[in-house]
Structure formats: structure tokens, C-alpha cells
Amino acid sequence: MLNKFPLWKNVMVLLVISLAVLFAVPNLFPDDPAIQISHENDAITELDLGMATDALRAAGVDYFGDEVTDMGAMIRFAGLDQQLRGKSAIEEALPDGYIIALNLAATTPDWLQSLGATKMNLGLDLQGGVHFLMEVDMETALRRRMENILSTIRQELRSERIRSRSLELVGESEIELRFADEESRSQARSIIRDGFSDLQVQARETGGDYLLELTMLPASIQQMQVDTIAANQTTIRNRVNSLGVSEPIVQQQGPDRIVVELPGVQDTAQAKRILQRIATLQFHLEANAGASSTSYEVYDYQGQQIRVDNDVILQGDRVSNVRSALDQYGQPQVVINLDAQGGQQFNRVTRENIGRPMDILLIETRTRTVLDEDAEGNTVERQETYEERRLISHAVIRAALGREFVITGLSGQEANDLSLLIRSGALAAPMYFIEERTVGPSLGAENIAQGAGAVLLGYLLVMSFMLYYYRLFGLAANLALMINIVLLVAMMSIIGATLTLPGIFGIVLTIGMAVDANVLIFTRIREEMVSGLSPQNAISSGFDRAFSTIVDANLTTFLVAMVLFTVGTGPVKGFAVTLMIGIMTSMFSAIMVTRFIVNTIYGGRAVKKLSIGPFIKAA
């Protein structure tokens, strides 16, 4: 028993360690504070960057590393103070439409970045910022939809001269139609079957009345929920972009919730005002050739200048459904449904305007900072709200349009985008803030310092003990432990996990528990020595016999961490993630890496005594 690894095992251990070092290294390069400039519609050019840097020079703010990337322009600063002064200088100099965001620019060397080696993401509790959890009010969305359907049915029955006793909404989401005779009911039923495929119809008689009970098909409700949350998410993403936050997160959570994370944002009041704002939609006609210049406004649409007539032919609240689909020839199109009143109104206008283009405007209320002079002549910042109107569709009316019409001539992507935009203006359901957590930047920095301090102190304590108690073997375990931390950091960076404060404490706990595997092995080696095995045999047998114990113990802990990950939220999830990764890396480092080190020291030669600390011989 010479305790030598076969070559492939040695190579594998070394390879894993060097890869881990490579992927952990980016975390050692601190980011530069930076400002990122982008534009709402256009790409950023050197010209824009020049305007910004001129403003910085004029304001006497030092900067470096200014460049134009596909993400916009990036300007770096030496400190946070310069960054803030730089931001206000650039905001003053650039016209509206530019988004100026505080950002952090990576300083990782290019060759590392090209390998895909990046940093761990930091949670909001470490970098500061705000976390919102918003709930979309699906019940209201469903009720509105049913109200819409009810009013349309009412119109249809009236125009078909079908008499009814009563038509009303019962409860949250059921429509009840009462008829005096069976014939009216069956006529109504066929109309509903033809026109409303989303509905489930149940017939019933009570007290001489013939009833139809209409509910939305479960599949349709589900579809509506999916569409609604997508619409709300689009709205929020648009608004978050206008906040000028670097790397925001807008994510669906569960069937009806949206998580919004805005790193670096402090003014939660403003963020909330903007997130809550409701966008609206208007349908207009294009202005006639000879129209007077006061009767239209000019909008930009895909590079063309479009003159949009001021009269609104239809408001967005008349839209009852929007979806993107393929027509019978497989061409992408956007299908828009209007409610009954909207359909009639729309039919009247479009009938008279066949061949004329129709425009859809999306109107969003936004805020901007303006500089004012107060009574004493000081410059003060003031928040001002303004409406931003955007032309999202420009299409020619081909026929008299009714309750359902389509917009064609789009690419698949355009059709998707357009239906989402129309939804965000017309169909977004109300949203409520059900959770909000804000962490100030100083607390974030403090949390990092405390976390790093705990990791360092924990490691030092454990390391000294292991060295004292297990001597040379302790040294091997300590090296393995250090490699374990490198492995853990590398894994977190590779899978793009987010490091949170509880996550750091998960690492601390891992340090304490990771040596367990080594302790198990070393005690076993000591025991084998006591029972009379030669040092080489004791090493080999100690590692082998401890193995199944280590696997059992770690697997169960891993299961518990998985439960924690599944049911935990936010920071607790971060804890579970580091715990799980820590268990995996510590098994590798404690078994393979320690063995590798021990084999390198003792393997392949005659050994009389092991430096594994004192132990008692059996009496």
C-alpha cells in the first residue's frame, strides 16, 4: 500500500483546482464606479459620448476609460463622489431621452472575461438598493373582462332582437342571462357559441325562467392570467428602464406576482410613483394632406415622420383582448378585440376612412428632474411629471373594422412586441405592493465588511485548531479548506448565483462543518494506527472506511438544504445555495484534495510515523 494516486487522479485534482482559481479570480478585481449612458430609442454614438465628456471637463470632474459599447456609453470614475457629481453634470448637459444610470464597470482583464469568468452577483443586502414584490390583481382583471363580455352580449342580443328578462354579473366572474322562453334562450345560446369561444355555457330553469350561466373556461382564465402578468411585466420593465438603473431585475414569481429589484436605488418613493403609473392607449387617424398644422402632431415611427391627427377615434379602455397570432398563410399578425361599444364606434369611423392609415399611441406618464431657482436664487432640483407619447403602430385601414380586427405586415418579433405594448397600455391589471425592502448603501458595505470579517476570523480559528490538533495532517486539511473556499466562490461565479449576507454566513458555517470530513478521516486513521496497522495502511484504510460515513452525513444535510432552498425566499435562499454548493465542494476538497496532499507527502515511500497529533494507544 503505497498511497499513490494514479496519474489521471493527480491531473484531475490539479485541473479542477486551477480551473477553480481561474473562475474565482474575477472576484478579486474591484469594480470601477461608472456612468452608463443610453438612449430610449437610438444607439449611442461617439458624438453622444463627446457631449458627456465635455460636460465632465467643464464641471471639473475627473474620469477615465470612456468608451462606446453595444450597451451604450460607459465612463469610469475613481470614486463614488466623482461618479455622483459626474451624473448630475451629464444630466444637465444631455437633452431628454437619454438614460443616465449609475453603474459599476468590471475591471476584470479581457482575457478572463473572454473565458466567461465573471464575478458573483451581489444581493441587494450587500450592494444596497430596493426590492419590491408586487401582486397583480387577477380578480379585478377577470371581473373587468366579464363586464366587457356582458356589455358585448347585451349589444348583440339587442341587435338580434332577442328579449331577455335580465342580464347580470353574479359574484366575481359569472354572467347570468334570464329569458322568458326556451326559444330566446336557444337563440342566445347559439350567438354565444359562435362569438365567445372563451365561455362555458350552462343551461338551467328556475321559477319559470330559462337561465344561461356563463363562466370563463379554466383554460381561458389561465391564458388570461398568463397574458395579464406578461402585460404588467412589460409595463414595469419599460418603466424601470426609464428609471436609469443598471442591471434591474424584473421577474415573475408564482402565477400572479412580479419581483422588481433595483440595485443602487435609494429614492423608493420616486421608484414607486413610477412603477404604479398606468399607461394608456389611444387610436388616431393620420392627418390628411392639407390639414392645418394645429390639428396634428408629428411622431417618429421607425424613422418616418408621421403626422397624427389630434382627434381620438378610440380610447384604449375599449380594448378587451389582444394577442399575436399567425394568419392562415402563416404570416404574423396582431388580433385586437374591442368591446361592443368600442366595436360600433370603431366600425363607424373606419367605414368612412378606408385606405387611410390609423395610428396607435401609447401614453406613459414619467418624471424628470428639472432645475429651478427658488426665492433666494439658489438652484433646486424639482421632480416634474410629463406625458410621453409614443407611436407604436402605423397601419392602413383596409376595410370597415368591427369588434375584432387584425394588424398585419409585421415580423413575428414585431407582432409580439406590438401586442405586448398594446396590452401594457390597455389591459394591465392593477398591482399592489405586498413587500418592500430597501437597504442603504452604507449598510450594504457594512454587511460585506462584517461578512468578510466573519469568514476570515472563522477560518483563522478553525485553521489554528486543526494545525494544533492534527499537525501535518491538519495542514493538509487547512490547505483543502482554503481550496474549498476557492471552489465555492468559483462555483457561485460560474452558475451566476447571488451572494447575500446569509449566504456569506452559509460560507462561514461551511468552513466550520467542512473540516468534519477530514476529522472523520483523521480519527479513523488514528484508530487504525492504534489497532496496529502500519502508517501507510492506516492512511489508506482511514480514508476508505470514513468514506461512506461522509457521504451519508453530507447527503442528508444536502437534503435539508434543498428543502430550505425550495421553500425559502430571498436571503434565505442565498443561505441555502451556499450551503448546498459548500457541501459539494467540501466533499471534493476533504476527500480528494486532502488525499492528494497526504499522498504527496507520505505516498510511495517507507513511513514509520505519521504527524497526525497525539493519540492514545489501547492499554
Partner: protein, 318 residues
């Protein structure tokens, strides 16, 4: 520690009675405290608003409370947090809050901050502000309780399959014992019970289980290789074999946790304390209680004699 004797008596009926009584006393104290003191639940479970602000000089929380009461926040709770310059303000969710009011409740933090800033001569700094809606609070509590139960269930299943059902029951009983004691300590010392403490509880399950499994693993091995048929003797030998490892691992884990307690600051205190208590109790449990349970369940050599396959696994190479 290296000089621990190899023949400590863990399993004689007298010793088992003593440790049984100790555990019973701990459990009774814990349960009494849970019944009388209950928990001081954190914001995660109670819902409401919390604002932590940093003043540039030391302040008296009572003054701040008065300022808030004057402004109409009668229910405000104000305490210092860590130092006398950091102040924590908690506001409960008002009665009858529904979803529509959530948006107003969510902006309370900003209002309070503006108010405190207006009342203070020196600039104050918002360190953190949290709002948890009633629905979310209830959900988090529900999911937390569920997590504990699921974790215990999975553990029992795993151990029962991998070892034997008596081991499964004994390990879960030992874990339940640990959890109750830790909960008792949390309630006894009025530590705030929040999500991080819940995470700590689950970590205690993980740790304590780790310990117990190591003992059981060795016990299984000994039941198979030792010539003795006396469970008491076998288990006692087992415990003497693992005690040094148990102590060393607990020590290193406690060292890391102490580092966390010292360096981690106020926010992580509940987490660190729960874990320290949990690890300490877990160590005691794995040495004294889990094998005790095995004895109560009447473990015998025959219980483990069966599968040949598992015997191979014990000796398999990595």
C-alpha cells in the same frame, strides 16, 4: 481532548436515566417558555413596516417615539439597534388593511423617514426600510412551518431507507428534541424570530443530523462486526469511538459560529445564537439521546443483520 479515556459509560441504565431526566427538564422548560413567553416574531411573520435609521450622534429612542406619536403613529415601537446612534422603528399593519391599502402602507417607511429627518438637526441616514404585507407575512410563516416538517419527514425517510426504520424514528426524535430546545431558548431570551432564525433552525437540523448519522453509521458497522450481542455494549463502544470526532467537529463549527457572532453585527445575532445553541444541544443529543432512543425502540443485532449489499458499500472505495 486527545487524552479522552476510551471507556466512558454512556449507555448503562443509570446513565440513560440521568440523561433522560436532563432532556426531559430541558424540554419541559422549553415548552413552558414557549407557552408563557411565546415568540417575538420578526417583521417577516408579523407584517408591518420597519425602518432602521442612523443618526450622526446618539439619540434617545423615547424622544423619537414621542415625535412619532405626535405625528399620529401611536403604535410605533422605537428601539436602538446595535449602537445608540442606530434606531429601529417598527409600525404594525393597521387593522382592516386590504390589498388596496397595501400601496399606502408600503409608503409608510418613506413618510416616517421624512418626519424623523424634519425633526432632527443633523442629517440622518436611511439604513434599511422594510414593508411586509399581511398576506406575505402569513405566507412566509406557513411556508416556514411547512419547511421544518418537510425537512423532518425527508430525513426520517432517508434514514429509514438507508439504515433501518428504528434509526429513522430515533434520528427524527433526536432532531425534534433539538429543535424544541432551540425554540425554547429563542423564546426564553426573547430573541426575534424571523426568517434568518428559521434558516438557522433548518441548519441545526442539518448539523444535528450530520452528527447523529455519523454515530448511527458507526453503530451499524459495529452491530455487524462486533461479536457481542448486547446492544448496550455495542452502542457504548460506538459512542466512545466517535466522541473525539464529535467534539472536534462541534468545536470547529462553534469556532466559526463564534466568529459570526463577534463579527456579524446586530442583524445576524439571532441567527448565530440559534445555531450556537443548536450545535451545542445537537452534540449532546447525538452522544446521549439518539442512542438512548435506539435502546427504547429495542434495537437488536438482528435489525441490521440483513442486507449483504450494504455491507459492501461500507467498504467501497471512492
Amino acid at each position: 481532548m486527545a487524552l479522552l479515556k476510551n471507556d466512558i459509560d454512556f449507555m448503562s441504565p443509570r446513565k440513560r436515566r440521568i440523561t433522560g431526566i436532563i432532556s426531559a427538564v430541558m424540554l419541559v422548560v422549553a415548552i413552558l417558555s414557549l407557552a408563557i413567553n411565546r415568540f417575538e416574531f420578526g417583521l417577516d411573520f408579523t407584517s408591518g413596516t420597519l425602518i432602521e435609521v442612523g443618526y450622526s450622534e446618539s439619540v434617545n429612542p423615547e424622544n423619537i417615539r414621542q415625535q412619532l406619536i405626535v405625528a399620529g403613529y401611536e403604535d410605533a415601537v422605537v428601539v436602538t439597534f446595535g449602537s445608540d446612534r442606530d434606531v429601529l422603528v417598527r409600525l404594525p399593519v393597521a387593522e382592516g388593511d386590504d390589498e388596496a391599502m397595501n400601496n399606502e402602507a408600503a409608503s409608510l417607511g418613506n413618510e416616517v423617514l421624512a418626519l424623523l429627518q424634519a425633526e432632527s438637526d443633523t442629517p440622518i441616514e436611511m439604513r434599511r426600510s422594510e414593508y411586509v404585507g399581511p398576506k406575505v407575512g402569513a405566507e412566509l410563516a406557513e411556508r416556514g412551518g411547512l419547511a421544518l416538517l418537510v425537512a423532518l419527514g425527508i430525513v426520517m425517510l432517508y434514514v429509514a431507507v438507508r439504515f433501518q426504520y428504528k434509526f429513522g424514528i430515533a434520528s427524527v426524535a433526536a432532531l425534534a428534541h433539538d429543535i424544541i430546545v432551540v425554540l425554547g431558548v429563542i423564546s426564553l431570551f426573547h430573541l426575534t424570530f424571523d426568517l434568518t432564525v428559521l434558516a438557522a433552525l433548518l441548519a441545526v437540523i442539518g448539523y444535528s443530523l450530520n452528527d447523529t448519522i455519523v454515530v448511527f453509521d458507526r453503530a451499524r458497522e459495529n452491530f455487524r462486526i462486533m461479536r457481542s450481542t448486547d446492544p448496550e455494549h455495542i452502542l457504548n463502544t460506538t459512542l466512545n469511538q466517535v466522541i473525539s470526532r464529535t467534539f472536534v467537529t462541534s468545536l470547529t463549527t462553534l469556532m466559526a459560529l463564534t466568529a459570526m457572532l463577534i463579527m456579524g453585527g446586530e442583524a445576524i445575532r439571532g441567527f448565530a445564537v440559534s445555531l450556537i445553541v443548536g450545535v451545542t444541544v445537537g452534540t449532546y443529543t447525538s452522544l446521549h439521546i439518539s442512542c438512548n432512543f435506539l435502546m427504547y425502540l429495542g434495537i437488536t443485532k438482528e435489525d441490521l443483520a440483513v442486507p449483504v449489499k450494504e455491507g459492501e458499500e461500507v467498504d467501497s472505495m471512492p
